[in-house]
């Protein structure tokens, strides 16, 4: 299935968000996720299913002013 991850097209096998994060290499990383512009809390990742064309944002702590 083709989705957009942080603005880039990616092909992923699993459809559950938690599994997608694993295959994309986020493992234990401290990140927050949003699917199609809506925040998905960490505890909801296991039952959140992705669909073709979905936009996934994966954000991490960064410097800020």
């Amino acid at each position: 299935m083709l989705i957009k991850v942080n603005g880039e097209a990616r092909s992923v096998e699993p459809d559950r968000l938690s599994a997608v994060l694993d295959v994309l290499g986020y493992g234990e990383a401290i990140v927050a996720t949003a699917l199609n512009g809506e925040f998905v809390p960490a505890e909801a990742r296991a039952e959140t299913r992705l669909r073709e064309g979905d936009r996934l944002e994966i954000l991490a702590p960064m410097q800020g002013g």
């Binding site: 942080n6 603005g7 994060l21 994309l24 290499g25 986020y26 493992g27 990383a29 401290i30 990140v31 927050a32 996720t33 949003a34 512009g37 809506e38 925040f39 809390p41 960490a42 944002e57 994966i58 954000l59 991490a60 702590p61 960064m62 410097q63 800020g64 002013g65």
Partner: protein, 258 residues
């Protein structure tokens, strides 16, 4: 002691963590500033481990400071609210420096979006620190929306112009004597910070003036001194300015030597 959302904070200087020449210099600057609150953000991170964000977060946690995540770069209420929700989970704090930006050139806040987002986030349990202007009506709306602190700009972000509208800032201070007020953005040199503190502002928040200085740690220390000096001066009740001279040496008893 700065009091905000029921917390007592010893330092009245809030420091940003962006734009430093290196992470090590950022750490030195935070230590030299004696800031107890630093601002942070959320940005896209590549997978595969070793992401810059993870290293940055580890450094911040070692510093033992509170973090104030921002919604920098958000131009809509929706974007700002979603960013705040993501930040609360990642940083483990309900504090959010709420930025809803209107104009890309001046980074002036979209005050209508700001008020709307502040209301939504407050209802969701956030403690909102709104980046606003010195407009009294907007300030009133933000307080009504649930904000317990206001952060008016001194000047456009990164401009180093200092306090662009001293009259407006003084007026805001006078209208809301019991609300914690923080001058956020636009400061360039320590005297700007001292001036804000002398007006009775409770704290200042800055980033570029320290991060882009030739010696960020030294500049951070200079700002810390200025903030302390300005606050002490405010508490000492400064005299009023006047147009005409007033001799300080007693006139009475002066010899007649013509």
């Amino acid at each position: 002691m700065l009091r905000v959302y029921g917390e007592e904070i010893a330092s009245r200087l809030l420091l940003g963590t962006a734009l430093y020449p290196s992470p090590a210099i950022m750490v030195e600057a935070v230590r030299a500033s004696r800031a107890q609150i630093v601002t942070v953000s959320l940005r896209r991170e590549a997978g595969g481990g070793g992401g810059a964000g993870q290293d940055f977060w580890a450094l911040i946690r070692e510093l033992g400071v509170r973090v104030l995540p921002n919604t920098a770069g958000c131009h809509s209420v929706k974007e700002a609210v979603t960013t705040a929700q993501m930040a609360r989970e990642v940083f483990g704090t309900p504090w959010i420096k709420l930025e809803v930006i209107n104009d890309a050139e001046t980074l002036q806040p979209d005050v209508f979006g700001l008020v709307e987002a502040a209301g939504i986030l407050t209802r969701e349990g956030f403690k909102v620190f709104p980046y606003c202007t010195e407009d009294l009506g907007v300030a009133d709306r933000l307080l009504t929306a649930g904000c317990e602190v206001l952060m008016p700009w001194g000047a456009p972000i990164g401009s180093a112009r200092g306090l662009n509208n001293v009259y407006g800032l003084r007026s805001l201070r006078a209208h809301f004597p019991d609300v914690p007020l923080v001058v956020d953005a636009g400061l360039g040199v320590p005297s700007h910070a001292a001036a804000a503190m002398e007006l009775g502002y409770d704290a200042v928040l800055l980033n570029t003036a320290v991060a882009k200085a030739g010696d960020p740690a030294a500049m951070a220390g200079a700002f810390a001194l200025a903030v302390e000096a300005g606050r002490t001066a405010f508490e000492a009740d400064p005299i009023e300015a006047r147009d005409m001279a007033a001799p300080s040496t007693p006139v009475l008893g002066k010899a007649f030597l013509e």
